[in-house]
Symmetry: C2
Subunit: 298 residues, 2 copies
Amino acid sequence: MILLKSSDILHYKSVEIELLFKCNQDRILVVLNIFGHNMKFAITGKGGVGKTTTSSLLARLFAAEGKKVIAIDANPDANLATALGISAAEAQCITPIAELNDLIQERTGLQAGSVGGFFKVNPKVDDIPERFSVRQDGIELLVLGTVKKGGSGCLCPEGALLKSLLSHLVLGRSEVVIMDMDAGVENMGRGTAKGVDAFIIVVEPGQRSFQTARAIRNLAKDLGVSKCYIVGSKTRDNNDRQFIIENLSDFDVLGFINYHPEIAEADRVGKSVFEMAPEAITEVREIKNKLEQIIQKK
Amino acid sequence: MILLKSSDILHYKSVEIELLFKCNQDRILVVLNIFGHNMKFAITGKGGVGKTTTSSLLARLFAAEGKKVIAIDANPDANLATALGISAAEAQCITPIAELNDLIQERTGLQAGSVGGFFKVNPKVDDIPERFSVRQDGIELLVLGTVKKGGSGCLCPEGALLKSLLSHLVLGRSEVVIMDMDAGVENMGRGTAKGVDAFIIVVEPGQRSFQTARAIRNLAKDLGVSKCYIVGSKTRDNNDRQFIIENLSDFDVLGFINYHPEIAEADRVGKSVFEMAPEAITEVREIKNKLEQIIQKK
């Protein structure tokens, strides 16, 4: 039997918790409840629906109320940095996830593919995001990395590393992870977001993004993630909003980010939506509140 | 020395042509010119810019003038079938590319990873698209296939097979391949579209899709594809069109598909853009003509 102090458990990796779980199931369930590790979200959906906009605004709003936000750009066609208002020069300083491999091995003492014992595991992984990110406005941004050479191969190893990092992060009460996924469903095959607590699926008023949402929910079950929430995007009127609610009536719809010309304008001038589209901020604040209400209930 | 009849060469795989090329470079260069194999296009770009709309309209317009069109949905979050006006029931009859592996081996006599001699290679691959596709309005649609189970892995093997199939297809004068790619740049790492003659990069008036276009062009060079053309999408006025031309001044811009509410409406009701948005058809016809002019000049 191993005693844990509350100051320790915040930093313990999920691998360790799984090992403890085998020793004493009830006790660990209590620990998980105490530290409410249910604030890791993957923002996903069809290409171009508004995933990055949603991710960046959620990150900014959680950070504005004093939460520590780890924002992860898991899209090889990365643009979360700009959406967060981080300059291109600063974004270039971020070491991509792909280069964390050695460090994770150094910290955990685990060789890839092996299963380490509890005592061999070094629990200090909570500073990894800080060391390999750019911090701005209370948000630490990590990026997956992109394709550097045509024909050089896929990003499967990077995806696997990100999955591992996500499962390492055990969050405290005031911490949130927002992961901006790549478009579509392939990341679901890889299970990059396996460690998240919920998928937030962004849709626009069209069948193709609904089809993607349904596919994501089916695949999420295979990853052991049962919570999939909808954010409606680019809605122009109440008909559009109703259209989404009626077509996805078996989902919890968190709210809507209506079509605002300011969002397109932010992309034209390469600025953050947070700076340019105040109405969208109000809408995403409502979405965030609804999300927190749902989580507290469950 | 091997003599080729013109009726044969249409069906010869590029693997064989490469082997012949080694025997007699000049002769094969003539054959390639005669049969004008420069009509394989990959439609690519940031998520949600209008790749599927562009692909489906180009496919319909080439088919309408009597060309044989092979449309390939290379997006695991597939929706080209609907855009082409193929019903969900018909689309479900298509055998995904992933299941062609055995057949390609059977036809070519080549084991994966081996290099077969000229005489061992069975040239009959031209019927593969016909056998594993749905045909409608002069278009044969093939689909890559999607993720069937969360955490089951990536689609790298399927991508590799698609790349192989593309390089097998040597087109006749009246044949066109239109491949609708998945969003972003990861497919460039895999080199799925290595066998195409040109990338048609769809952009909207925003920095993020411009950034993707530039990344694609850089990666395309690594794949040996030097031709990258731009289609501007969702443009609302002349300012938008100029904004694209000025930001991508070092690209050939083929034309524009303006914002039409009918395109969004087609997605709402799950119908093809071809049926719903006549103005977009006119615009894509101009894009197709410009593309053909550029190709004939080069």
